[in-house]
């Protein structure tokens, strides 16, 4: 029953129908809980002067944006570091995940379910002690504080998503199409690159976006392996916030927020229901 429809007849009987009210209040409260903190971030990112007891900022502007993006503001280095690391992490984990996923989805594999579960290990244990010890390991072989070191940590972290989603994407491709290509003379590699791979591409792109976002947002691993030599956006956010510079921290947070929200809005276009139904099978 919509609001307008439910009101009209009850007013006619002089007994207001207020059954929609608790529902509307609950949804309003939820909207406040979700968008209140987000609005707060936006205000901080554009506030130039904001102090107690003023509820809202006194002056808005881009002054802090200018300061953040100055060469010595550090944001440009962090942004380019973050993007380079995320792209390398996507390339690395897809290079590892695509062959593995094809094998898991299509080929006769001994201990298949055990292998699939092995790729879940990074999700099943707290990552914190692992990162501490990776940092120690990398320190010994000179990888600490290098881009490559951070990329390796992000590849390991992203591999779970890459393999599980890509396996589901290959499993959702109709096997008969592949067999048809083989029966009219295509070799196994040709059938893979001309038939299977293009059909599985939306799912593989989705897994790539997942890895990209996970790498962009990753804090703990970068904190132990990268800092202070390699700064990424999350590390910049953390140091700015720790120094009480909420404008810089909020601007950085906003830069990290935009790709995450965009992905939330389009994820269903890449991850279709037929692929989702195959996850973990």
């Amino acid at each position: 029953m919509s609001l307008a429809v439910s009101r009209a007849p009850s007013f006619a009987r002089f007994r207001p129908n207020l059954r929609w009210l608790p529902r509307a209040l609950c949804l309003g409260l939820l909207a406040f809980v979700i968008f209140g903190p987000l609005a707060n971030l936006l205000l901080w990112a554009f506030a130039e002067r904001w102090y107690y007891p003023h509820i809202l900022p006194l002056q808005y502007g881009f002054e802090f944006w200018g300061r953040v993006f100055e060469p010595r503001g550090g944001a440009l280095t962090s942004l380019s570091n973050s993007i380079v690391i995320a792209l390398l992490a996507v390339a690395g984990s897809l290079a590892l995940a695509v062959p593995a996923a094809y094998s898991l989805a299509r080929l006769k594999l001994p201990l298949r379910s055990l292998i699939l579960i092995a790729f879940l290990i990074p999700q099943a244990f707290p990552e914190m002690p692992v990162y501490v010890n990776i940092a120690r390991l990398f320190y010994g072989i000179g990888l600490n504080g290098t881009i490559l070191g951070v990329v390796l940590v992000h590849v390991t972290h992203g591999l779970v998503y890459a393999i599980w989603i890509a396996t589901a994407a290959f499993a959702a491709v109709d096997e008969e199409l592949e067999q048809a290509a083989r029966s009219i003379g295509a070799g196994p590699l040709r059938a893979f690159f001309d038939v299977t791979l293009p059909l599985a591409m939306p799912g593989i792109i989705a897994s790539g976006i997942f890895v990209f976002l996970e790498s962009l947002d990753e804090f703990t691993g970068s904190y132990f392996v990268g800092a202070p030599d390699v700064t990424t956006l999350p590390l910049l956010l953390y140091t700015a916030g720790a120094g009480g510079n909420y404008q810089t921290a909020s601007i950085t947070a906003l830069l990290l927020l935009v790709p995450s929200i965009l992905f939330m809005l389009v994820v269903e276009r890449f991850l279709r229901a037929d692929v989702l139904a195959k996850v973990g099978r």
Binding site: I34, L41, P53, Y238
Partner: protein, 274 residues
């Protein structure tokens, strides 16, 4: 036979990466917990007990409370999406609840730190609305802030799983109960939730493990004592280079997640054998 070898060869590089860069450091973290300057022993654990016993309980309490709240809100959201009779309200809820899904923890930490502070936007709005006086406002930047940040970020994920499982249920039993006059709350508690319990538990365990290893939220919201053991581990390493105590704390967080996972496995085995 050849196909098996090719298959293994394709999986091997990825598998080796996980073994070398996750499983191996994991084992050194376990062995490292028992390494002290005086040789192998329990010295690190004695130090942990002396310095961080409160923090361990504090961590367990925060993560458990957050997990329970996440489950509760996920059931409410999933339940309304499945049983709600007002299509417009269902559509609004479906659009609304997912926003925090992909927002990184570090951003959640920053957002909540400014939103929940004593003079933050939340208190300012409550004062402006006349619900509080300026003297009554308190900062939420303690255990409450951490719980709020965790619940805000993780509920959409579990709700998404739970709502998906609820949507896949057989509508027949629900309609039948409805025709017999059962209230929607009763249908949710007695028919829908028992059938999606497996999915709900998986979501709860994944959230528990995730929250156990988040460093940014406790560092940003409340890093003073008492704090969560992830923040303590970072402090031990940054301030003292003390890997032994950090690894001992790590082993305790591992033990907590194992206890939860074991309880789940035992439960599901018992259910299957029934």
């Amino acid at each position: 036979m050849r196909e098996r070898l090719v298959g293994l060869g394709l999986v091997l590089p990825a598998l080796l990466t996980i073994l070398l860069l996750f499983v191996y450091p994991l084992t050194t973290s376990v062995t490292g917990a028992f390494e002290t300057e005086a040789g192998a022993g329990l010295g690190n654990f004695a130090k942990v007990w002396e310095l961080y016993a409160t923090d361990i309980l504090y961590t367990l309490a925060i993560v458990s409370l957050s997990t329970v709240l996440i489950a509760l809100f996920s059931i409410i959201i999933g339940g309304y999406l499945t049983l709600g009779e007002n299509p417009r309200a269902v559509a609004i809820l479906r659009w609304l609840y997912r926003w925090p899904l992909f927002i990184p923890f570090i951003v959640v930490g920053q957002i909540m730190r400014t939103f929940l502070a004593k003079n933050g936007l939340m208190n300012n709005l409550l004062v402006a609305a006349g619900l509080l006086t300026p003297l009554q406002t308190t900062s939420f930047l303690d255990w409450r802030g951490i719980v709020i940040a965790f619940v805000w970020k993780q509920t959409p994920f579990v709700a998404l799983l739970v709502a998906g499982a609820m949507a896949a249920l057989d509508r027949g039993t629900i309609e039948a109960a409805r025709n017999l006059g059962a209230s929607r709350l009763r249908i949710l508690v007695e028919i829908v939730v028992p059938q999606v319990r497996g999915t709900l538990l998986v979501g709860m365990i994944l959230s528990f493990v995730t929250m156990m290893s988040v460093l940014s939220v406790p560092l940003m919201i409340s890093a003073q004592t008492p704090t969560m053991i992830t923040a303590d581990m970072a402090f031990r390493i940054n301030a003292y280079g003390d890997y032994g105590v950090a690894d001992a704390l790590g082993l305790i967080s591992l033990a907590m997640t194992f206890a939860v996972a074991f309880a789940y496995l035992r439960q599901s085995v018992r259910e299957r054998s029934r």
